[in-house]
């Protein structure tokens, strides 16, 4: 960890101002940032502690939705009565990630910004275009079991490792951002970016911008499932995960909001996957068709080829379970 100046932000505007500066980062829970600072993957010269800025509340919105303060912890969010009752896919996704100790510290805003677990990204003595632009991608011809099968580029095949954002994507949540240019809202589905030629740019945040909240739309009900496939029964990152909000009317799909983790540089949301289900009665053939659409452009890098059939089968299992629960 390099030396840095540490200060506590007196206000959001001051935090914005400071983090707009060179090599300055905001710290909230710190569970990912400090991990990476110890490895010198992150080397800020200034850290601005935003923990006591107050946007930690979880409160109802006027349209019946829910606003999750960016500084609310993952735990506070997962155990919140309304989240449990109205957005169970979100509770489930959060509870499937990390450990209780980490969720107790990690914040919602920080969780959206967490960085990839790619081995080559976290080892500063290996090439990584994300950490060290132009140095190459160590994973493409290296150990790539955890890596992406969708939306990759020849610069980067890393995955976004989080669970919470996958559920937020399925829910169609919105990220509230505050910064030098004022406030703006970005759909979660557009918040994270694919690597392209700029894998170091992982989301739409501009310097000085700070996430202040996440807004969930009014509850849609339905059967909500978060399924995470992992190599340990707990405390492991997803090989693949599926967030699903499913509703059947008269034996046919009337809602099918699906998002996927472990597959790409961002939570993967392809509206065509859900759309192909709508108006159709559930069947194994239909589930296969949905998987075909999802995986049409998928390709692996050897070690992670298995993610293609695994995703297909997991989607099948989730849809089968959801249809059973909904019926």
């Amino acid at each position: 960890m390099r030396p840095f100046q540490f200060s506590r932000a007196p206000s959001l505007s001051e935090a914005s101002h400071q983090t707009a500066g060179d090599n300055t980062l905001a710290i909230a829970g710190g569970t990912n940032l400090l991990d990476l600072m110890k490895l010198q993957v992150e080397t800020p010269s200034q850290l601005v502690d935003i923990n006591r800025l107050g946007f930690a509340d979880i409160e109802d919105t006027d349209d019946g939705g829910l606003r999750l303060g960016a500084l609310a912890t993952n735990t506070e969010t997962a155990v919140h009565a309304r989240v449990r009752a109205d957005y169970p896919v979100l509770s489930r996704a959060i509870l499937a990630g990390a450990t209780q100790q980490l969720r107790n510290k990690a914040t919602n805003g920080g969780n959206l910004c967490q960085r990839t677990r790619c081995f080559y990204f976290t080892n500063i003595d290996q090439p990584c275009n994300k950490r060290d632009p132009g140095s190459g991608c160590g994973a493409i011809d290296g150990i790539a079991k955890l890596h992406a099968i969708l939306g990759t580029s020849d610069q980067c095949i890393a995955t976004y490792p989080g669970d919470m954002a996958v559920a937020l994507s399925a829910l169609g949540a919105t990220v509230q951002i505050s910064g030098g240019k004022g406030e703006r809202s970005v759909p979660v589905r557009d918040f994270h970016l694919l690597p392209g030629d700029t894998p170091w740019i992982e989301n739409v945040l501009e310097p000085g911008e700070i996430i202040t909240g996440i807004v969930l739309p009014a509850p849609v009900g339905g059967t909500q499932i978060y399924r995470k496939v992992r190599e340990r029964s707990s405390y492991a990152f997803a090989l693949v995960s599926v967030a699903a909000i499913i509703e059947l009317t008269d034996g046919k799909f009337s809602r099918a909001d699906l998002a996927f983790g472990g597959l790409a540089h961002k939570p993967w949301h392809d509206p065509r996957v859900g759309e192909c289900l709508l108006g159709q009665p559930p069947s194994a053939e239909l589930f296969e068709k949905a998987a075909d659409i999802l995986l049409k452009d998928a390709h692996g890098f050897g070690e992670n080829d298995f993610k293609i059939p695994l995703t297909r089968r997991t989607l099948h299992a989730v849809l089968a379970q959801a249809t059973e629960d909904a019926a």
Binding site: T31, D49, Q100, Q101, K105
Partner: protein, 169 residues
Amino acid sequence: MADTITVNGTAHPIPDDPRVSLLDFLRQHIGLTGTKKGCDHGQCGACTVIVNGIRINSCLTLAAMHDGDSVTTIEGLGTPDEPSALQRAFLEHDGFQCGYCTPGQICSATAMLEELGADWPSDASESLEGRIAISGEEIRERMSGNLCRCGAYANIVAAIEEVAAGGQS
């Protein structure tokens, strides 16, 4: 702004170097070595302490972020003369072997029982709502952030189950 951390009831000044983790603060600066460093990256749970009633990994937070906070470590839960119920249960059930993960397991379990009591759901919970029934599976999921390489898990769970059922009090 207070610039002290209260550890087991005693206030200590925060060190000058902001890089000092809460874990290294406890171990190196105030001599409370009961809290262990197993990985320094939030991956093993040996450094688990209770901050303002909530369990966290002390390795993944800076001492400087905790001014005014109240920290309870293994030394604050009980002593050789007056061990806590969980400490006694771990001893009785042989819920440890080498002992290195043990303070983290016990701090974690102490806070975990509170979380269960508050009906916080877990990944293992059948339902997200209502009372959470204590079961081996619930305890195992909730304790999964505390690795034990000796493989004392079965005994740790037995110790926790006994205390959860009101034993060793």
